[in-house]
Structures are given as C-alpha cells and as structure tokens.
Symmetry: C2
Subunit: 251 residues, 2 copies
DNA sequence: CGGAACGTTGAGCATAATCAACGACTGTGG
DNA sequence: CCACAGTCGTTGATTATGCTCAACGTTCCG
C-alpha cells in the first residue's frame, strides 16, 4: 500500500458538486462527530448560514497568541497544532486537533495560544460572537460543547502526567500509540500504518523533549523491531502494537 | 502576624447559627464565586435542596480513580488535590482546587482521577445525576460551568508548558507566584505571606519534580533573599515579589 | 523519651540536553 | 542535467540538570 497525507476523506469532492449550505452540512464528513452532531437538520440550517468554509495550507497560522479572539472553528479535515510559548521562545504544543475537533478561545477577548495548520486543513469557521449566540439559542449545542471541553480537559490531565512523570521512551511510545488510535490504518499482519502528521521538531515540542531525543527513541524502537519506516521518515508502520502497548503501560 | 491554615473564612459559624437551606446558601462564603453565582435566590433554593454539606479532614479521599463517578461538589473552604497515577505508582497532581472551584467527573461512569483533601475542607456536594439534571433545568448554570471548565483548560495548558519546558527553578518560583496570587496575604514592606497548603512531596508531585529538588530550589530562593520561612517550613514570606516575577518571566 | 513524618543537605549517577558533524531529500537556477 | 542551498533527520561526544541513595536535623505527636 501507499501512505498519503490524507488522514480522512476530505470534503473537496463535496464542495465541488453541491452548493446549498444545508446540503453542504448534511454531507459534511464530520456531520456526526463535530459539534453539529447535536443539531437536527432544521437547526443545522441556522448554523450553516453562519459558518464559512476555509482552507489552510500546511504551516499557515489560524490565530496568534495575543491577538483579538474573534474566530472559532470546527476541523473538517487535516490537523492543527496549538502552541504555548515561554517569553524566551521555548515552545510547547499543548494540543493536536483532528477532524471533528473544535478550536477557538470562547468568552475571552484575546487568544492565549497560537493555532497553526500542520497539514493542509479544511475548517468550518464562525465569528466568536455569532457562535456564542448560537450556544444560547441551542442548548444541546452548548451541552455538546461542554462535553467536548470536558474531554479536552481529561486529555490535558493525561498529558500532564506524561510531561511531568514519564521517560522519553514512554513519551515517544505513548505518542505513537495515540496517533495509531487516532489516525492509524490497518497494515499487513496486524501492523498499524501511521502517516505522521508532524515533523520530529513538532513531536519534540508536543512531548517536551528535543528532536535528538525523539530521533534516538524512534531508532531504539526501530532496533527493537517495534516499528519500521516505509520510504521516508514520515510513513511509519507499527509492527508490534502489543509491544508498544506494553512500553506505554508495563502492567 | 500569625499564619494559619484557614485559607478563607469557613462556614462553621454560619452552619451553627442558621438552619434553613436557602439562607445557608445565601450566606455561603462562596455564594459569589462558585457555580451558584449564576442563580438567583429563587433558583438557588432548588439547588440548595439537592446539595449536602460535607466536611473532610486533611488527607481524606473524596473520590478514587476507577470508582463509579456519582458525586460532584463545590469547595466552600479548604483545598483539594486531583492526582493521576502511572501503573507503577508515579504520581502527578494535575490540579489544586480552592474555595469556589468545582470538582467531579461529569457525564462519565468512572472517575479517571483521585481527589484528596490536602487541608480540612468543607464541600457542598451533589449526586452526579441530580447535578446533571440541574444543568438542563438552569441554562445559566450550564453556561457558568462551561466557562469554569474552559478556565480549567487554560490552566491545564499553562501547566503543560511548565511541565514540558521549564526548569526546576522556574517551576518552583512559578508555583509560589501562583499560591501568592491565589491564597497570599499582605505582609510587611510589600512582602506576601503564604501558608503553604501542601507538603514538599505534594509540591514535587504538582511540579513534576522530586522533593529533594524542590527543597534545593527553595533553599536557593532563601539564599537569594527572595523568600524566608517564618517558624516552620510551611509559613512562607515572599520578601521580594518583583524578583519572583522576574524569575518566572525574565522579560 | 521515642518514634514517625517531614524536611534539608551531600555525593554520585543517569537521563536527556547541548553541540557538532553528516546524510538524505527537495526545490531552484544555471 | 547537475550544482547548490535549505530543510529535515540521524548519530556521536560531551555536558548539565535533576534523580537516586543516604545521612541527618526538626517538629510534633503519643
């Protein structure tokens, strides 16, 4: 098989063939996983009228830390990174977001964090005031958002354990496991294929490590035959998912 | 002055002198800072009828990770720690909670984390199903909760930066600054007095360090005359708040 | 007084960071 | 077509930060 950077089917074809906002939403690839899952088709029309599709190239910045917070969005396809910076420039990726995830700083004038596309990405964007008004209009939307934010908080708490208490080896193994679950495809003989959506530098920034340490740990996993790289350094095949699980949680 | 473990005025006197639920809430020390701030006096009566006061001694566990999640609460006085564990017993405190903070795992059957009182604590508790029903009944309550959860997420993101990218020195200085803002009292000559609500071990578990490293960094700050200890090792006076700010953010 | 819990300090060590060199791949322009 | 620069990734040598292990001091109980 060949691996590509398309993590999920994109909406390109749909956008090209349908024009009415309602049916655009109705056929959206994240209709059943994003916040809009909470709305019936009728209410969806209201949402659809306020949303705008936006395409971002890899590397492009959606919002800068410190700027006015006036945009929120759902991810339709692709992936975003959310980064925090120290005053002297050290960087920490606090979240990676994938299709169906919500992004944006609600109820706040300023963005605390910078959000950047790490691969080509399609978004469904709203102005922050419009979206906040929608939350009042549709209580089920607010409930779904609350649940998603609570899930994000759980993720963040898990990551605090990783950043505070786990070794470099455990962090890298855990990250690969996370990617395998989130965007992995079935490979031969029970293997899992992952097209890494991040550079080594971004892996390091996500895991609180340096690129050299990430590289060494990947080599270590390769030497142990837990994984292999197909072609370049971005197409990764987990040969031994059970061993990877054991490295993350050595029961 | 003498420092004590009472972080905020407690409700003991109030509980002893008033009996009706409504007035109990009305005179509650966190009436204007906890979730109930979103409710008018009338709606508060409904909330009050479902809530139960509970007193916890320092060290007592409110909920265990893995147990059924059937309790949520607002903190009236005292402080709680929320901890995550690796399978081999390494511990990370993912949050410290103070009066007005909400605690509990909503919309989930199992607690992912253990919650423990770190000082004597008064809570206003609800059963999870009852509280979730309240969220449906009072949209403003749900909105206030959403805002509080979003604030918790912002805190968590800030802590990821600390755990992933900051030195031991910066972590300890940052923690003292956090406590100074949250529970500090004015001292002489612009100093800030903090009665540390945590042991060295808990500081270490919060900061992703060991107790020895925490102790050494405190000694370093003491040597640099940034702080001093009054009496024991729990009553801390920040002599030079500006220098502390600089250590956290060396502009 | 004795013990336990908590905290400090020191010596040595290990993990991961830093510094440096080099290889692979990509796109550009002669 | 190849030379070149630029980006990305790997590997090695060395260093430093913080951990481990150990001893000891302090406080606060019974």
């Amino acid at each position: 098989m060949t691996l590509t950077l398309d993590l999920l089917p994109t909406a390109h074809g749909i956008q090209a063939t349908v024009s009415s906002p309602a049916s655009r939403c109705h056929n959206c690839p994240v209709r059943t996983s994003a916040l809009c899952e909470s709305l019936n088709d009728e209410d969806l029309a209201t949402l659809s009228g306020l949303g705008r599709r936006r395409n971002m190239k890899a590397g492009q910045v959606l919002t800068w830390a410190g700027d006015a917070a006036n945009l929120v969005a759902n991810i339709v396809s692709g992936a975003l990174k959310v980064t925090a910076l120290t005053v002297d420039g050290r960087e920490q990726i606090v979240a990676l977001l994938f299709p169906g995830d919500f992004v944006g700083q609600l109820f706040s004038d300023r963005n605390a964090l910078t959000v950047t596309a790490i691969v080509d990405t399609d978004l469904c964007t709203y102005t922050r005031p419009a979206f906040e008004a929608l939350l009042d209009e549709f209580p089920t939307l607010q409930r779904t958002l609350l649940k998603q934010v609570l899930a994000s908080l759980n993720d963040a708490q898990d990551r605090m354990l990783t950043l505070g208490r786990k070794t470099a080896h455990e962090r890298v193994a855990g990250f690969l496991q996370f990617l395998a679950k989130r965007i992995g495809c079935e490979g031969p003989d029970g293997a899992i294929d992952i097209c890494l959506p991040v550079t080594r530098c971004e892996m390091a920034d996500y895991l609180g490590l340096t690129i050299e340490t990430v590289s060494r740990q990947l080599t270590r996993l390769r030497t142990a035959s837990v994984l292999t790289f197909i072609g370049g350094s971005r197409d990764c095949r987990i040969l031994d998912p059970e061993q990877l699980d054991y490295l993350v949680n050595p029961i």
